[in-house]
């Protein structure tokens, strides 16, 4: 390209403008360390305005169903001042040198992009206005924009963006920090409900997802791993599989030694998915299952129980003297809480299409986090990271599972070794049995109350997985977890045990379980204090203030927590009388910079079956909801996801193996389980933050608290055991 590049430093990012291949304007916003000589590729820019007026916006983050492919371009379109219906949206390649962070994780897209991407749109608009003003020889500030055109206020003259795009591309890029952004009251795109940009393709069955990738000459691969994680091949007879119809190659592959990488296994490459799959049963593999084969959920639970009467291996947080405060307490309450391993079970099983040729590999992959995958592929194949090209395809669900990229490494290695472009597809059984899990966890809790129901002491001995001072991935507990900072004597310690099976982040990592533990136990404290569960929480939160490390971004704002709690109680009609064996439960939680309060209404049958009739949610994720349609969808989905997990999901380990093999044994929420959800957003004067995760954590505790209200039975272990609830 004949780009003429200019760039202006901002605090962290650099804005670049240049001439697109089409002759129009191209704008990109990337990390400050990006080499200025590096050409902007047509796909690798945030905004492109062609001379014919067509506007293309790029979504640079992976789309996993959280809606960023719609919401990110909305931010640009708003400040660019173009009609939403007129823009075309492209998905970026994985290219962190151009885009910086490209991760679907941590509910961070809105938090990180809300202002920078508006500045990208504003910069493009600024340059287009400047080019029009030059052409008319009028001051730029006498021009305005409207729906993709520049208008001169004095004369009413008008130019389409496309007509000045080429001239704008030759102008210096503005310093993004100096650009004036729109007053939110003038928003035309942000804050209006917009359907997902891929919706029409989804409902008509167009190829869109990773699994739909198709490369000329492509073969289909299946990969057989040891049922016990970390196992290796002792011996393998591959000839029968090699002789099967449609099979092209069968070979053993060694582990690359990385926990989240390539496990030892046998690859089958065939003419079709079915041929690759059928040949699996013809393999005769003797595994060395390794140390993991002795581990089981039952033994883990027994060991966790045994930690109860011991001192924690280490302290995570200690404020005041919990022993003294407990001794002085008017009432003491202790309880043990537990939650199981659960699986992500994204509807689209893991897959990757790879084409290795001449020291380069091209990948078509549904991933939430391409860069660690690139690094591992490069290392395993012995090629440079730049020799790995990654197309990020739409993900059929993520939930954290696709932050881990072992399927990328597998596909790349199988393509290299077979000499063919291959599509590797995991079966559902592999998805449940060979994948990282949300770690199980155990909490031995004790608290003290004074005569007024104030919590004077809180002790939590957290039992998790790890070695020494290191927790396994997503198996830690933050010392700032509520009620840290709200109790004068606070003591949090941890003990860990080893676990071979990998763990990983699942939607609202940690918090998806801690909400249940903390808000379930707080309900027990309210009962001990003979206080209403809402009033008890209001008293515990106290006056509006910021709690936690002043340097941390995630300080706890008790005013925001109180507001969502009060709002949800009001909309649910907290305090009303319900029929026998029905009850309301309440909870709140802060995570991923978002505050949510929940009320669940549940009825428990004489058979112990729990039926949720309605859920109320109140959330505060800042002053602006970017896309109300997507936002509502995220909250409703989080509620049903969390209810389903709490009521029925559990992965069990036996002899180091995952017992559950498919959806007949691992029960996901279905249509008839899904109660109505009432959602309210409180717009507080805080920066907008993400919504993929924070609505989940308060739902399980509101459910178990509703079960208590209905039956008087405390559920302290998930999933809910209906045998405890029979009448």
């Amino acid at each position: 390209m004949n780009a003429q590049m200019q760039h202006q430093p901002s605090r962290r990012l650099v804005l670049k403008a240049g001439v697109a291949l089409t002759g129009g304007l191209m704008i990109s916003f990337g990390p400050a360390n990006r080499a200025s000589a590096q050409a902007m590729q047509p796909l690798n820019s945030h905004v492109r305005i062609d001379p014919d007026g067509r506007v293309t916006l790029v979504s640079h983050n992976p789309e996993i169903g959280q809606g960023v492919k719609t919401s990110i371009p909305m931010l640009i379109a708003e400040e660019l001042d173009v009609p939403w219906q007129s823009v075309r949206i492209d998905q970026a390649l994985a290219d962190s040198a151009t885009y910086g962070r490209q991760v679907a994780g941590g509910s961070m897209a809105t938090t990180l992009q809300y202002e920078p991407l508006r500045r990208v749109g504003a910069a493009a608009r600024h340059m287009l206005v400047a080019a029009a003003a030059q052409r008319w020889s009028v001051p730029a500030d006498s021009c305005t924009t409207s729906a993709g055109s520049i208008v001169h206020s004095g004369t009413g003259r008008k130019l389409g963006y496309g007509e000045v795009a080429a001239a704008a591309a030759l102008l210096p890029a503005p310093d993004p920090a100096t650009l004036k952004l729109k007053d939110p009251k003038d928003f035309k795109v942000i804050g209006k409900p917009h359907g997902g940009v891929d919706n029409r393709a989804i409902v008509t069955g167009k190829p869109l997802f990773g699994i739909d990738a198709r490369v000329p000459g492509m073969a289909y691969a299946s990969y057989v791993r040891c049922p016990v994680f970390g196992g290796t091949i002792r011996s393998a007879k591959l000839d029968k599989a090699r002789a099967a119809n449609g099979v092209r190659a069968v070979f053993a592959v060694e582990s690359n030694g990385a926990i989240e990488g390539l496990s030892a296994g046998v690859a089958i490459v065939a003419d079709s998915t079915w041929a690759a799959r059928k040949a699996r049963s013809l393999l005769e593999i003797e595994w060395d299952e390794g140390d993991g084969a002795s581990q089981s959920s039952a033994a883990i639970a027994a060991r966790a129980a045994a930690f109860k009467d011991r001192m924690p291996q280490r302290s995570l947080a200690k404020v005041g003297d919990a022993d003294a405060a407990l001794a002085a307490a008017v009432r003491r309450v202790s309880a043990s809480y537990a939650y199981p391993f659960i699986a992500h079970a994204a509807m689209e099983p893991m897959n990757c299409t790879a084409h290795y040729k001449d020291g380069q590999v091209e990948l078509w992959v549904p991933t939430q986090n391409p860069e660690p995958g690139r690094a591992q592929v490069a290392k395993t194949l012995g090629i440079a990271p730049e020799a790995v090209k990654i197309h990020m395809l739409r993900c059929g669900g993520g939930f954290g599972r696709r932050l881990i990229n072992e399927f990328m490494v597998e596909a790349a290695v199988i393509s290299k070794q077979s000499g063919l472009p291959v599509k590797l597809l995991w079966s559902r059984e592999e998805d449940l049995q060979n994948a990282p899990l949300r770690p199980a966890g155990f909490h031995h809790l004790e608290a003290g109350l004074d005569a007024n129901g104030a919590v004077t002491a809180w002790r939590n001995h957290f039992i998790s997985f790890g070695e020494g001072d290191t927790f396994k991935r997503s198996a830690g507990l933050s010392p700032s977890q509520f009620p840290s900072g709200f109790v004068p004597a606070f003591d949090m310690g941890a003990s860990v045990m080893p676990l071979t099976h990998p763990t990983g982040p699942l939607r609202a990592p940690g918090n998806n379980a801690f909400g249940f533990v903390m808000q379930g136990f707080i309900d027990e404290l309210a009962e001990a204090a003979r206080m209403d569960p809402l009033a008890f929480r209001q008293q515990l939160l106290g006056d509006a203030r910021l709690v936690g490390d002043p340097a941390a971004r995630d300080r706890f704002d008790s005013g925001r927590a109180r507001a969502v709690l009060d709002a949800v109680a009001k909309s649910a009609g907290w305090g009303r009388t319900l029929p026998p064996r029905s009850g309301l439960g309440i909870a709140f939680h802060f995570s991923h910079l978002g505050y949510f309060g929940t009320v669940v209404e549940a009825a428990v049958g004489r058979d112990g079956v729990v039926k949720v009739s309605k859920v109320w949610m109140a959330g505060d994720v800042g002053r602006q909801i970017v896309n109300p349609s997507g936002a509502l969808n995220q909250v409703e989905g989080s509620v049903h996801d969390a209810l389903g997990a709490a009521l029925g999901q559990q992965i069990t380990l036996e002899n180091g193996r995952v017992v559950q093999g498919n959806f007949d044994a691992y029960r996901l929420t279905r249509m008839s389980d899904a109660p109505p959800v009432a959602v309210e957003f409180l717009l507080s004067d805080n920066p907008p933050t993400g919504l993929g995760e924070p609505a989940y954590p308060p739902v399980p505790p509101a459910l178990v608290n509703a079960i208590f209200a209905a039956t008087g039975v405390r559920i302290r272990s998930l999933p809910v055991d209906s045998a405890l609830l029979k009448a």
Partner: protein
Amino acid sequence: MAFDISVNGRTRRADVEGDTPLLWVLRDTLDLPGTKYGCGIAQCGACTVHVDGVPVRSCQLPIEAVGSAKVTTIEGIGATAVGQKLQDAWVALDVAQCGYCQAGQIMSAAALLAQTPKPSNAEIDAAMDGNLCRCATYLRIRKGIKLAAGVKA
């Protein structure tokens, strides 16, 4: 061996083993990837197609059993009035999150509305309970069916 089957109103030839599930014939051989794999044991409904108008889990139907039956997939359902209404309703209500299961949801919903043009909530539950949505867009799926059917949400 070669099988001639009717898919979306056209005769298509697939030279595959007779036990190959229709799902993989559609996806791998006939380049119709709209029908999705989710579980392979008829528990999730992502692979739902119509066989002579009846909703069938294509992961369980070997191609040798298809015979002369007329197969309709998500790529073809828009040619029916009910299918198009459902697709439009799904877009209008922004039903999808990740969208992976929605082809199967629409196929099950289309079969429901063909038999029961004005379904009750219980009829919707019964027809749709075999279709999993991991993003749990069930409330909007229900609304989408009602919008397409012209019944009160």
